[in-house]
Subunit: 361 residues, 2 copies
Amino acid sequence: MDTLILSSADTREIVRRVGLNAIMDRMIDALRSTLASLVPDRTVVPLRSGFHYHEPMPGLIEWMPIMENGSRATIKVVGYHPENPDRYGIPTILGTVSSYDVRTGHLIGIADGTFLTALRTGAASGVATQLMASENASVVGIIGCGAQAVAQLHAVSRVVDVTDVLYYDIDDSTVQSFPERCSILQLDNVRFSASEPGDLVQFSDVICSATSVDIGKGPVFADCDTKPWLHINAAGSDFEGKYEIPRPLLERSVVVPDVLEQAVSQGECQQLDGHQIGPELIEVVCREDLQRGLGKKRTVFDSTGWALEDHVALNLFMKYALEFDLGSYIEIESVSHDAKNPYEFVFNGVLQVDSPDALSG
Amino acid sequence: MDTLILSSADTREIVRRVGLNAIMDRMIDALRSTLASLVPDRTVVPLRSGFHYHEPMPGLIEWMPIMENGSRATIKVVGYHPENPDRYGIPTILGTVSSYDVRTGHLIGIADGTFLTALRTGAASGVATQLMASENASVVGIIGCGAQAVAQLHAVSRVVDVTDVLYYDIDDSTVQSFPERCSILQLDNVRFSASEPGDLVQFSDVICSATSVDIGKGPVFADCDTKPWLHINAAGSDFEGKYEIPRPLLERSVVVPDVLEQAVSQGECQQLDGHQIGPELIEVVCREDLQRGLGKKRTVFDSTGWALEDHVALNLFMKYALEFDLGSYIEIESVSHDAKNPYEFVFNGVLQVDSPDALSG
């Protein structure tokens, strides 16, 4: 029973063959259609859990499990280590995503979770933006211009006709490198303008916030007048005590969490009372009456990250791996011919012949 | 940043090179010395969690995480599907174990968790038997002769001079095949005798129970007179409502759980009040005063399975993989040269040259 190992080279090849824009489009479509058809009773999503620590570096390693009853389970294990870029030149977010057969427990496949996390977090904002942004939106504000910002802008650019990108980061070099990093998106007719947060918030139709603001140091911009149809994707990594958006602005907005229970403990919804929180994203996807008029209102998508997004992304990449015949198949689990003898696989009947000494070692 | 993939062939090769007896000895030694030197504050072991279900087959998929602060985290994902052997000819327990660098979140390696689970569950009983069995023990009783029983007997045979094995299973064919399955252990001067549970319990010095008894159907043998120094390793898989040992016998014994919190919810300790439960295994390992006299008393090791055991086993196999130059190194996590651009890895600077169309797909 082999396990499909999708190397980063395989992931790269899939993205190159499908195309970066097409894969974001597929991911947005797949996520939205999965949300629209999801049977809650058949999909089990325990709250994520993990190790949080401050030594030797601040960081966390989390596992995010999800099971589609009778079919597959997906577990993403993802690290968030903000010192990775400066210290090791590697991404803050490193992860892998694994797929299990619910009938047998077999590990079907394992793939990159780093690009997939960016892609699926972007795609979630893409779905939210489709549903909640003004149909005439054209100015996109980016607050926090790190790794996730590229995918956020990418996703929004697939569902909004972007003319202008206003961008801000507390770190000057991150500001300076942002347009160059976005060149990969080939947004050729889009004007990029570094902006102060006040201007950015005032002039944007859609904002994506994706910061690593410290716990207790939010919000990341001051409340001010906004366009009455401003849609915000609040996508920064989430901790207790961490939030990005000013509370009064949340209170003037329809706030849509991805997962309510998680959002009230780790997301923007920490700042709100229950009655101030709107429907979950899945409800908005499923109910046209809830969608109506959202494009004319202030809206906030409180994105805390959802294992369902990883599940959809992994299944998409595994489907492409099969289609393109990519990946390596390796048997990892030891399977004895005799299911009642875990040692049998070691010798598989050849014990007497060629390894008489192996037991005496 | 490559990930070490240890295939089942690599695991096999390690066991063949080291030798089956030697690897059990190393595993028992490593587990005992890890327990003896463990700094509780620096080792974080969340209770395991998982998906439990009855459709399409009864089973569970669990994740068992552990972190050594500042060093490595291990997560075993293990399936328990009792219909696997009959339906698919594969083991009830299928699993993989993964190691993560706590500094960065990087997946260091992944290996088989099926053989490792048998080995480490055996080794835990080995440590318990070293500490609690009579020094003159020679008769070992095996209740439940499935896959785990082979490793249980193996471990006990490494720490006790076994002369007789009495064995029982509710399934006749499992009884009949047990001595043949144990031939791999080369216990050449040991007498194997199929026994009724009553005789088995009465005449054994050490008993290992490793059954798949249904929830609410325990115990797996009736209470009776036992040798006053009987030591039991209660190693069967653990659920709420599942137990193997008669309560009165537990009440006459010193009951040592591997992890108290888990044992009281899933192990034999479910049947006891708090004051009837003895010290945890780690306390017995660390404190000679607690060890004294145990060999003359009735003792029960309530083994519910501990992520620490997986952590020690995986580290042992990864050490051997390095020593023997085994395993495949595959980069799974996508790492962009630019840590702030998750898309950069896709094109790595060659976008303009050879894939101008990739973005338009």
